[in-house]
């Protein structure tokens, strides 16, 4: 069952003491979607959503490739040459790469790369070193779900319905400072944290 954002917002109407979706202000609706996306981002940051690419080709002489769309971090990468065997790559920081080989951008080798450096801001992965022949790559990575928008259907496990619901009550009520509601926001937040903690324990196993 996909999660319907329309249904989720409708479910939140009574919880926010409104009489109908139409009665929610545009600002509140915006807050709700901001909350949904922030909640999913937080879960993604804990490594709960994983994906992979296999047999991606890096042309001879290239060292940089784009990170998969919505990737948060790589947690496994391996490379091989045509007819060769997979060789896992080490995860290096940019500082380690520069210290190891100040001339890294020009270094090239006939062997497969040995390490990768992720530049999240640029959305790129740099392999070290460049290879004189084509390289095949496998990347396993954590990712963030697609941004949640109005009237969308999201293919996510059902339990996230409850997490998004509770986190939205927490966020909207806390933001609006409703009278006599801080306890309600805190209680919803506590339940949301319990669910998020359990899901992180279940889904971020490395």
């Amino acid at each position: 069952m996909a999660i319907s954002t329309t249904a989720l917002v409708a479910d939140l109407v009574p919880a926010l003491n409104a009489s109908s979706t139409a009665n929610l202000t545009a600002a509140t609706v915006a807050q709700l979607y901001e909350s949904f996306n922030r909640t999913l981002e937080a879960l993604a940051a804990r490594g709960c959503f994983a994906n992979y690419t296999e047999s991606e080709t890096l042309t001879a002489g290239d060292a940089v490739l784009a990170l998969p769309t919505r990737a948060v971090a790589l947690f496994y990468a391996a490379a091989k040459l045509s007819g060769g065997v997979w060789s896992p790559l080490e995860h290096w920081s940019r500082a380690k790469l520069e210290a190891y080989d100040p001339n890294f951008a020009a270094t090239s080798d006939a062997s497969p790369p040995v390490a990768y450096v992720v530049d999240l801001e640029a959305g790129q992965v740099r392999l070290y070193s460049k290879c004189t022949s084509d390289v095949t790559l496998t990347e396993a990575y954590t990712e963030r779900p697609a941004t949640v928008v109005a009237d969308a259907s999201i293919e996510l496990p059902d339990i996230l319905n409850d997490l998004l619901f509770l986190a939205a009550i927490r966020d909207v009520r806390a933001a609006n400072g409703e009278e006599a509601m801080p306890d309600s926001a805190a209680a919803a937040g506590e339940l949301a944290a319990t669910i998020a903690g359990a899901l992180a324990a279940y889904w971020s196993n490395q």
Partner: protein, 212 residues
């Protein structure tokens, strides 16, 4: 217990009549469903089995859309040997060529809905996946929850607390004891499931709830 019975109990716990003025039946149903999902997620009291196809020669498998999936409890070759759980870090540390070792699968690692398997069978292979699941949503008044029948009463406590969230103030404070009762039932069931999981040598245990 049926959905309507649990919902009526939840309203009663909030001091409301069977047809309350402050909450709707739809709110009650949503709260009961949410309570049951939360209960199942924290106890692994619902198990589902499905089969997935591992493509021949591939080490990777992204599980198809399993809306009710929580975590794998046991993975095995259909009608055959069981795969033992490990981690990606352990796979890479123990055998650099783990994703290119032909043979019968014996290990798996998972993260979210992603599974990695070693060794890799040469041809397509069906894996049997036993997983902890969340329940199907209750919709009709006569629907009964999937969690064990002894725990159906706890859903009224969980639902009452969830419904009290919108009221806040003294209503929420009064409902605090319902949350306590709900958590106690979760802990009892989770302890039972953990004992059973040890006996069955399942791969994962329910989340340890520190509350209470």
């Amino acid at each position: 217990m049926t959905l309507s019975e649990i919902r009526a109990d939840a309203f009663r716990l909030l001091g409301e009549p069977a047809t309350p003025a402050w909450w709707t039946a739809a709110e009650g149903t949503r709260a009961v469903n949410s309570a049951q999902r939360l209960f199942a997620a924290l106890t692994f009291s619902i198990e589902q089995t499905t089969t997935v196809t591992l493509t021949g020669g591939s080490a990777w498998l992204l599980l198809p859309d399993l809306a009710r999936f929580l975590v794998p409890l046991r993975v095995s070759i259909e009608g055959g040997a069981r795969l033992m759980p490990t981690t990606f870090a352990a796979l890479a540390a123990s055998n650099a060529r783990w994703q290119q070792s032909l043979g019968a699968p014996s290990l798996y690692a998972n993260r979210g809905m992603l599974l990695a398997v070693t060794r890799q069978p040469a041809s397509d292979t069906t894996l049997e996946l036993l997983y902890a699941a969340t329940p199907a949503a209750l919709a009709l008044d006569g629907d009964t929850p999937e969690i064990p029948v002894e725990d159906h009463g706890a859903l009224a406590h969980g639902a009452a607390y969830l419904m009290a969230l919108k009221a806040g103030g003294s209503v929420l404070k009064d409902a605090q004891s319902n949350l306590q009762r709900f958590y106690e039932a979760i802990q009892r069931r989770a302890a039972h499931v953990r004992a059973r999981a040890v006996a069955n040598a399942y791969d994962r245990m329910p989340y340890e709830l520190k509350k209470v």
